[in-house]
């Protein structure tokens, strides 16, 4: 048996002319693979030759293989007008929609791994690769994490070709480019780099492709592998590579001059460059009336800030600066705190962790159990903890409100949790001064970030009337005449009839 550590080493290698040796080669390679199938045939009707087909069971469409390939090979009566037998089979015999020739062992292995069938022929180094893909997919469903009130309900699937087709259906233009790359020594995962040629920055496209080509890892099982490997801001709390499972979002981002990466085996598609404002944008903003959508987006900004700041502000005010609160309000906080064994800051961090545990458990559990868990965790345990004087009611309300506010911006989930804890710790030591030090450090960090050479805060920090049309609120479509200027070649999004 051949032990092959890196299939890429086979690139450019060729098989023997003799069919027996070819068969022996593949049999040796897949000696311990129970799904490998080989069928040898002897043809005598239109020409006399031996051949064999190799494929993986479960990966192919049996109908396509039997009727389109084996049947046509065995029973065809077409008159041979070609110079060689391989060209005759390719051009006159096979019914399949996609047939190609190759003499590269690597290409053959790649083909059968993806569900194609390879026809090995005696007397030639070349083989035919026939499209017989037939593995099952999950199908098109609405992504759970990106549900919307109004608009398209379709989401990506795990099959890269289906995903590409969904994108192609949204962007029916030859301007759409889908460049294929293969990443992962063992997984040989296909990645499509998608962009609109007339809009995307060519330098950025080449940079992304070169970054992906430089990845040398054994396997890519999800888009996040690539996201982490090509991202320069590796320790940042804030996402600088976008993710989505919705083809309409990918299409919208490509229409702004961005680049998308479709990775085989996952419904998650990466988009880049990804800016801070995108965390607050939702599909609904574009599919609902702009007045209503504007309110939703403002709420998202407000809730993000509440979520990050509220626990720290509460601690700063109650522990260090009680003079900022009315006397009887402060007295009621004081009354609620009496008997609680932990200091406020410790209590706050414990409550944040408990909230995150409940949230995480709710996500991982079955939906029905998840709901019950939320009720038991949130109401029953919370009330019992307050009654038992383990936690104080005001802080419980603050942490719960902060946690719930954070859920409104799911893309900033990690950033919200870590920023909140960071500010709580700083505030516990230094009061309001610590709070403002923390806020300053977070801002310094945000300003230092970039997503593929585009400033992370581009549309917020640089005042531009055009960019601001899609930041805090969304301007009506008839006002958004231009694309964001940071990463596109063509700024004009919309032309008026008299332009």
């Amino acid at each position: 048996m051949r032990i092959l550590e890196n299939v890429n080493l086979l690139k450019g290698q060729k098989l023997s002319i003799k069919l027996d040796e070819k068969i022996e080669y593949f049999k040796n390679m897949y000696l311990k693979d129970a799904t490998f199938r080989l069928r040898r045939m002897h043809i005598e009707r239109y020409a006399k030759f031996d051949c064999a087909v190799i494929f993986f069971d479960g990966m192919i469409d049996t109908e396509k293989l039997n009727n389109g390939l084996i049947r046509s090979l065995l029973v065809s009566e077409a008159v041979n007008t070609q110079n060689s037998i391989i060209e005759y089979i390719e051009k006159q015999i096979l019914f399949n929609n996609e047939v190609s020739k190759t003499d590269d062992i690597y290409m053959m292995i790649q083909a059968i791994n993806l569900g194609d069938t390879v026809i090995l022929l005696d007397g030639t180094r070349e083989s035919l690769v026939v499209n017989t893909k037939g593995w099952r997919t999950r199908g098109i469903q609405e992504p759970d994490d990106e549900r919307i009130l109004q608009g398209p309900r379709e989401g990506f699937d795990e099959a890269i070709m289906l995903n590409a087709a969904m994108l192609r259906r949204k962007l029916a233009t030859p301007d759409l480019c889908l460049e294929r790359l293969t990443v992962g020594v063992k997984t040989q995962t296909n990645v499509f780099v998608c962009y609109l040629e007339s809009l995307a920055d060519e330098k950025l496209v080449r940079k992304v492709i070169s970054e992906i080509k430089s990845i040398n890892i054994d396997g890519i099982l999800d888009a996040n592998y690539i996201s982490e490997l090509i991202n320069k801001n590796r320790f940042s709390l804030f996402k600088t590579v976008g993710t989505t499972e919705r083809p309409d979002i990918v299409a919208a981002r490509l229409l702004e001059g961005r680049i998308a990466l479709i990775v085989d085996g996952t419904p998650v598609v990466l988009t880049l460059p990804y800016l801070f404002v995108e965390n607050f944008q939702s599909d609904d903003d574009y599919y609902l009336n702009f007045i209503y959508a504007g309110l939703g987006r403002v709420l998202r900004y407000v809730c993000y800030h509440l979520s990050v700041l509220l626990p720290a502000v509460y601690l700063a005010v109650t522990i260090f600066h009680p003079n900022l609160l009315p006397a009887y309000f402060y007295a009621s906080i004081s009354s609620a705190r009496s008997g609680v064994p932990f200091p406020s800051s410790t209590e706050c961090i414990i409550l944040i962790f408990i909230f995150e545990i409940l949230r995480e458990t709710g996500i991982r559990m079955q939906q029905s159990v998840g709901h019950a868990l939320s009720i038991v965790g949130g109401l029953v345990v919370g009330q019992a903890a307050v009654d038992a004087n383990l936690v104080s009611a005001p802080l419980l309300i603050v942490v719960a409100f902060s946690g719930i506010s954070g859920l409104i911006v799911p893309r900033l989930k990690a950033a919200v949790i870590y920023s909140k804890i960071f500010l709580v710790i700083l505030t516990s030591f230094l009061g309001v001064f610590g709070l403002f030090t923390g806020i300053t450090l977070l801002h310094v960090h945000l300003y230092s970030l970039d997503s593929f050479s585009v400033d992370y805060l581009d549309t917020i920090s640089v005042f531009s009337k055009n960019s601001l049309k899609d930041t805090i609120v969304r301007a009506p479509w008839w006002k958004m005449l231009k694309r964001p200027s940071a990463f596109t070649k063509d700024l004009i999004r919309q032309r008026r009839n008299n332009d």
Partner: protein
């Protein structure tokens, strides 16, 4: 190098700000003072603090006041005496009302001003009132008179322009024109 300078700058800022972990006091460890009464007899100051009694108040009940009394040669000493007798830290931040004995203020004006201005816990927005007896405030059975209160900032202003501050506080003289409409306020209703 840049990292070192940043860390140094942050540390310097923390140290220079005066803000430190020593200011950390849990809410339940503070006694919220809602009024301060000042009197001086012979050489001793008597200070009575009205505080919110959190512990003896049942839920859904209005907070009961408790009165803490201290004596000393100065106002600070009297307040410190009270502090030494209570387990939690006195918080004068919320004290909106300072009531001073009429005669005491007349004789010790500078000392009282000095204490009110220099004590960082006392808000300059607190009202200062003159009264001839404390009984009005402590004993609810007693009849109340009308008292005219001025914010401490206004009193500083009155002092700066050399007004007859005592008689203005007593209500016998009108405050300067600029202060009539905006600053004076009746603290208690007239009976």
């Amino acid at each position: 190098m840049i990292k070192k300078i940043t860390v140094l700058a942050v540390l310097m800022a923390i140290i220079l700000s005066g803000c430190s972990y020593s200011d950390y006091t849990e809410p339940e460890n503070r006694t919220v003072v809602t009024a301060m009464l000042i009197k001086r007899e012979l050489a001793t100051y008597t200070v009575v603090l009205e505080a919110v009694n959190v512990e003896d108040t049942e839920k859904e009940e209005k907070y009961k006041p408790e009165y803490l009394t201290g004596w000393g040669e100065s106002l600070s000493a009297a307040v410190d005496k009270i502090q030494s007798e209570v387990s939690s830290e006195l918080s004068l931040f919320h004290c909106p009302l300072i009531i001073c004995d009429d005669i005491t203020f007349e004789r010790n004006q500078n000392e009282i001003f000095d204490y009110l201005i220099r004590n960082p816990q006392i808000s300059l927005a607190a009202y200062f009132v003159l009264a001839d007896t404390f009984d009005y405030f402590i004993d609810s059975e007693k009849e109340m008179s009308a008292f005219l209160g001025y914010e401490i900032t206004d009193m500083i202003e009155l002092k700066n322009i050399n007004s007859d501050i005592i008689n203005i506080l007593r209500g016998r003289e009108k405050p300067p024109e600029i202060m009539v409409d905006k600053n004076n306020k009746y603290i208690f209703s007239e009976n």
